[in-house]
Symmetry: D2
Subunit: 434 residues, 4 copies
Amino acid sequence: MTRQQRPLAEEKVFKDPVHKYIYVQDQTIWNLINTKELQRLRRIRQLGTSYLTFHGAEHSRFSHSLGVYEITRKIISQFERSGYADWPKEEKLVSLCAALLHDIGHGPFSHSIEEVFDTHHEDWTCRILLEDTEVNAVLREFDPSFPERIAAVIRKTYHQPIVISLVSSQMDADRMDYLLRDAYYTGVNYGTFDLDRILRVLRPHQGRIVVKESGMHAVEDYLMSRYQMYWQVYFHPVTRSSEIILRQIFRRAKELYGGGYSFQWIIEPLRQLLEGTLNVDGYLSLDEALVQTAFTQWTYEPDELLSDLCKRFLHRKLYKYVAMDNADDELWEEIREQFIAIGLNPDYHLEIDFPYDMPYDVYRPGTRAVENEKPPILLLDNEDRLSEISAKSDIIRSITGLHQGKYHLYYPEEPVRESAHKLKPHIREFFGFM
Amino acid sequence: MTRQQRPLAEEKVFKDPVHKYIYVQDQTIWNLINTKELQRLRRIRQLGTSYLTFHGAEHSRFSHSLGVYEITRKIISQFERSGYADWPKEEKLVSLCAALLHDIGHGPFSHSIEEVFDTHHEDWTCRILLEDTEVNAVLREFDPSFPERIAAVIRKTYHQPIVISLVSSQMDADRMDYLLRDAYYTGVNYGTFDLDRILRVLRPHQGRIVVKESGMHAVEDYLMSRYQMYWQVYFHPVTRSSEIILRQIFRRAKELYGGGYSFQWIIEPLRQLLEGTLNVDGYLSLDEALVQTAFTQWTYEPDELLSDLCKRFLHRKLYKYVAMDNADDELWEEIREQFIAIGLNPDYHLEIDFPYDMPYDVYRPGTRAVENEKPPILLLDNEDRLSEISAKSDIIRSITGLHQGKYHLYYPEEPVRESAHKLKPHIREFFGFM
Amino acid sequence: MTRQQRPLAEEKVFKDPVHKYIYVQDQTIWNLINTKELQRLRRIRQLGTSYLTFHGAEHSRFSHSLGVYEITRKIISQFERSGYADWPKEEKLVSLCAALLHDIGHGPFSHSIEEVFDTHHEDWTCRILLEDTEVNAVLREFDPSFPERIAAVIRKTYHQPIVISLVSSQMDADRMDYLLRDAYYTGVNYGTFDLDRILRVLRPHQGRIVVKESGMHAVEDYLMSRYQMYWQVYFHPVTRSSEIILRQIFRRAKELYGGGYSFQWIIEPLRQLLEGTLNVDGYLSLDEALVQTAFTQWTYEPDELLSDLCKRFLHRKLYKYVAMDNADDELWEEIREQFIAIGLNPDYHLEIDFPYDMPYDVYRPGTRAVENEKPPILLLDNEDRLSEISAKSDIIRSITGLHQGKYHLYYPEEPVRESAHKLKPHIREFFGFM
Amino acid sequence: MTRQQRPLAEEKVFKDPVHKYIYVQDQTIWNLINTKELQRLRRIRQLGTSYLTFHGAEHSRFSHSLGVYEITRKIISQFERSGYADWPKEEKLVSLCAALLHDIGHGPFSHSIEEVFDTHHEDWTCRILLEDTEVNAVLREFDPSFPERIAAVIRKTYHQPIVISLVSSQMDADRMDYLLRDAYYTGVNYGTFDLDRILRVLRPHQGRIVVKESGMHAVEDYLMSRYQMYWQVYFHPVTRSSEIILRQIFRRAKELYGGGYSFQWIIEPLRQLLEGTLNVDGYLSLDEALVQTAFTQWTYEPDELLSDLCKRFLHRKLYKYVAMDNADDELWEEIREQFIAIGLNPDYHLEIDFPYDMPYDVYRPGTRAVENEKPPILLLDNEDRLSEISAKSDIIRSITGLHQGKYHLYYPEEPVRESAHKLKPHIREFFGFM
């Protein structure tokens, strides 16, 4: 049993473009927001490199974290007002903290760094919760069991599955906030859905959040928004190109460091990252400001590949792309050979990308058996029967598990263009040089 | 006479949350957007430290520059469609370039840096236009006279005053974009006004942009938005507090550098800034990523004052403030003395701020005589008579030259609170410690 | 003391464009909405003839009544959540009913009908509350004293002045809804202000609703919206022209009826209106459908004046207008004479209008002494002192009691144009015929 | 070949909530808007009885007609700016007139009246274009062939199929406006899609309007909006109920009239409607004001059925509904018998409704062969190949020809409830009476 929540003498309010206002009523939440670990999320963009495609998408994970907290607060507040028996009242503060902190372990341009250095932001989230940090101190001050309990929510092992469901399911506070927020900041209207309506049809039910059947169309609309956002924004080929460049910068730096290359400019946490010896303190000082500063300095490095990639990222001279009907292995091999022939390095100057490999899924009505699968969306009818939504909705069935992505081949345009005359005719034609 | 503008084979489009779309039709504009100098503005926030008050305000000067360009494009396009005789058609591209580039000389957190190091972003804008940069190359490629002509618009010496009026007057494309954009990103609705309506009532008239009298209420609404934005957003005391911290970091670093202090961590362009030897290249590598990285590193500096200020900025432990009825010199002296008595440094731990000193004015119907004064807003009636708007509008007359700001005294809360018992009673009471 | 409120088993929800949703939680409110007297408001437009100027402004008083109810519900719900001692909890349902019913006595095109037939919608509201109606039955069913109590609120004699203040003051739920709603439906953005913010700064205080001083700028914004709406929408000269036509139709019909004219087409409640013998039943069957139908039929009446005016209204052939510097009596007399000379009837073909005579006031910080004066807006500072807002705000002081309207002279264009050559030269010039 | 279009000296502007402004540049368009036939559309609601479900949906066909005109104007203006060879420039004014006038033949509550009296609004549109009306005069004044040409567009026999395609296809200006407008006025956000984006990807191509393939996702979004609007708004069971009542009023009146019943109150055009002798003049005087006035008067008719139905409509005491799994003929017969047994008239007190029978289709990629089928949406790829959109889009394929509607049985609740004890147990249970 937890201690009584300490309410703030006066409710605090943040102005927020997506939710209009964000309301803070607990001292613990207020203290968490003021920790340096949460403030650091102001220096990490919510959408990674997407700002290079959608210039408005410069919003931070800090804004998003407040938004996830606010949606969670609204859901719980509605559950409490309605007095639903299946909502465990004593879990309110754990849920709010988990919502606010769920992204605290994100580093700069997480997806790329995680791929190259094989780290996982959930692990860092748990370490920040459990090791010697301001966040840990605030949580322990409230209740010594809180750091571990919130880590359990993040790891999805918490004994109250409904709390996990709030922050991590096919229709959780996280996704609802990021769709609305990313739509707002990019300026596309695809991500807009009726949040108020959805909040009204959510019900706690036997350890899960389910949806009243009468809200099915609102959920369809939410899933269609998600579908559109993936194809219009998250998988945009220009964004993919900038992520490729980013990943190659990190790969090159790692390769150079491993090979004993002596960087003209380096900074401690970055050295630890390349070396694989990062601890929590080091990790927390890694932010996007530091990464961009390193890239600026590395434009002066003697290693031409590294220097060129950094310039490409900073000055937005990204790789171009051509669509491939599918992953044609033969063509792929041939292009690699031709690239070598014209003096390019196919390991860095060529990449095939298929967006579906991204850790997103439009909607998959999975079971919890498969690891990391999000619980599906369940509809609750008037007679208390549950059904998975794609069994009821034609629309959702139609987008379930869709594999619509195209293969794209990314490459630097100028050097290929300059040596185009040396390429075999059908390769030249493939790249569109006549 | 300029050369023929080279239109793009296909119009380019940027998605923009404020204007929905931004349309690029000229090769020169496209090339300018792709220069590294303009891309660098992605790493400089439009509203400086305001994101510490309004977490949504993370938008960059790059976004704003595109917005100013777009509004200018729309104004000119309407002038051309309507065939107004007073619009000099050959000035279109100069105007568009000046609109796009008018902020190119902004550095990181400009207001603070300019104040401490006595530099001016307009000067840097002109140097970037005229010295060896990608921007200069793109402009010269179009017309060798272009760099100088655009610099003349920035310096307000251009021979066609109407072009200056477009980018710098009491109702220019710059202000119209920033009000709408800042309102959108902060989430306040004060800054919203009817841009479409205003664009429809603008007229080129004898070397100036004037407003059809029937549009007076729309202009009132625009000026009221401005008034509200200043008091709600731009002069927000929390933002002022963060600017004070920022300025003091720079002042302290400059003082230390001047005194021969050996920084444990420094980076070249920052050294040049402290030394006063920045050239264009160095200036261009100064962005907010670099400044934030420096602050992160300086939290480890042995100089406690510098280290403390940097932590305050990064972790948002800002100075608190109390209102003062006016700048009471005696009280001020007394507080300084008491601060010294409790071991604080009043040069860094105490600051009086009066927002009206900021380089903003809600609206001042000045004449061009006064240096740097923005041309006033003129109404054109049906009989072609001009009148300055505050002569016609009671509302605008009422806000003209309003001095509504309050004096605020800023200070670090914890050390003052800890030694509060040592302060004289009336000083203690002034700070609200009982 | 009232009986316990009967909550609905399940909250009812209306989709509303302005407030997103309108929530009904009490059986009594639900029953009131379903009375025929409230449903009748669907056939009465909120903005009278404004739809002839702003085609979107076709919304009904029914929509507005729901909106006023919803704002009142939100205010009270915030008072209850915050547990303010000055809010009399037992007045909740009276307040909600008064909010919902405050416009129940409005007839078709009220302003015009009231002027011509000297009736008052507040009187009809009280009669509908107190006589034999469905509304009366629903209220009595809840509590026999309710009809009289709500009538007292309407008459501003209720013993709890705070309830009156909710539905009738310078910043009541009525005005807040109509500004937002009229702005939404006309499509102008002048009427937009931050309702959420205002709701958060309202406080019950010694029998009044006052505003926390920190909310002053939000109130300024609200009053500026009002100012703009009056000049852009409510006083729009085209709307004034349509109201003049409307009034003249009624005046002509009344005159004809009084003179014994035998209408080819008449309908009972209209006959009673002309005769001055309307009772509640007759009044309730008078809606805008009936008035428009009558006008359609009257286009066939032998009385040419009546027939012409009806055609003008239905087919939107309104009177034109010219501005007059002030009410120049001499000119006025001369024009009347000339109109007679060219065969027009100045009683019907000529009207001077000065919008300030309308029963609107932008903001007047009156005292309750003057009859029908709305209580002013009071700011509550941190030390519980009250001050009238125009004493604190320069902006509001500047618009207080502004008399900005222009005199306009309205007339039918075609007949005057046709006989323009017969007019004296300076009169001809006055009307713009050369 | 048509005459030169006469531009207005000064562009006219209407404020519109959906498109912000509507621009009129041609004298002929201006004159058409001022005809009494177009002004009459102000007295006919765009969404028929939907205002009884969504109280905001009080907008008129006049507003919609301006909107369709404006979208058409924008499409053509983009075609002209881009100089597409496949757009026949001389068809501009015909297209604009057809867009503005396409709904001129709509009567009050068209769907119901057309069903009961077997009339067709397209026929009335053509008669209004071709017979002696103000619209006809304005068109003829511009070009004697215009009335016939525009009628040909309405009848889909015009020699330039691209003009037909603009105003009548699966993605025409009509549908684009009504989705946006109905969404705006009801307040649901389902109907929102990116109109600007769609306008940018439309291309004239071999006599049709097609869509650039890169715009496929925007079209998906548009079709999903349509899908959602149908299920959330157009097929809403409460709206269906009100339409049933309306239809039964007309059926009853027709039946009574046919049987020689002498109405206590009747009005000429209504008599002609019942008699089947309406001419254009009579039809034009039939508006919703007249219909509602008639219903008000008929509440006093001695025929109880008619009187009861009219009260139900005016006071919104609609029929309740229960879902049926399918059209169970046996159950249906049994219910009819039981209704007779308890003294109800199943011809008026019972109706099965299946929304899919409505003249709407979410999307059907038909061929022009089938009469009245709308041309499908075609995508144009980079190599000028066309494909029907459902061949490319999984999403659209999934909603093509979906039959998702449910059978609902509508009935008056009170009389059935009162006699519930007389019903057979399974019928009682079917209606939910225990």
